[in-house]
Symmetry: C2
Subunit: 142 residues, 2 copies
DNA sequence: TTGTTGTAGTTAACGCGTTAATTACATGGG
DNA sequence: CCCATGTAATTAACGCGTTAACTACAACAA
């Protein structure tokens, strides 16, 4: 069945939901001069240590051309380091640097407060349910 | 509780979910030289007839600066018409034009097929549940 | 009428999303 | 070794997202 109105359209609902959630995090990121995408890349590197560019782009949900730009910005601010993979001159390996880890640590408390507030308002159970559904949708379509 | 991995992060999950869903619709839009945002604007106008710019931006989840650009593009292709509101020289009223309606009609069958396929793969019940949760989240945070 | 304040749109600047093209390197066949 | 093919990353081009600044018009008070 086609959604008869834009409000019950899945793409629109996903867009809008993401919008209202990100509105809560944006001021925090802006205060530290980090874009949303740079933040995602940093978080993946923080979790995983050293990651190759292709995998990093995939895990941070960023396209390769964007990642190239983001790497330049983050490398310029000493948040990450960029090296060629040994054994394959095409691949690039990214690693989080001390300044990058420091930024992650500095933002964590505020991040927690915002996340907890969303969770409390929305309901922990509902949040888990929503994450499960999204995961199912993603795995089924990708 | 902070999400310990990016996969269970609400913003990331919403982004990724939207990504995999839109991947299904993008080829259709590209084939008709319409961007995703132009398409959203057209759909709102198609549903609502004449709408003022501010409300249109809100309903199509597009920011005012983007709407200005989109209006130019759609007006240039005769998909919509743009008029000043009578009684208030600041407001702008947008109306769908025949060519715009024709595009909506032309894409509807394909849109239905894609939407039905997603619904079938994901499950109708789950889809309703997901839309309900998203709506709750949106209403609670906005 | 004039000046102030508020509102609707637009413009500007910069970064990202998307697609296509290009460069650099790797791999495998002759 | 040489060439064709494939892959990783980059670059290019264009539109949108985001914020801030600006313009045009409206509303209202003195």
């Amino acid at each position: 069945m086609l959604p008869e109105n834009t409000r019950r359209s899945l793409p629109m609902a996903l867009l809008h939901a993401r919008e209202v959630v990100m509105a809560r995090f944006r001021p925090m990121l802006a205060a530290h001069d980090v874009t949303e995408q740079q933040w995602r890349v940093l978080r993946v590197l923080s979790e995983a240590g050293s990651v190759e560019a292709t995998e990093l782009a995939d895990r941070a949900s960023v396209l390769p051309p964007s990642l190239t730009r983001i790497i330049k910005a983050l490398e310029g601010r000493k948040f990450i380091t960029r090296n060629k993979a040994e054994g394959d001159g095409r691949r690039v390996v990214l690693t989080i640097a001390p300044a990058g880890s420091a930024l992650i640590d500095a933002l964590s408390p505020e991040r927690r407060i915002i996340y907890d507030d969303i969770e409390q308002r929305f309901g922990q159970e509902r949040l888990e349910q929503l994450l499960d559904l999204l995961e199912t949708l993603i795995d089924g379509e990708s």
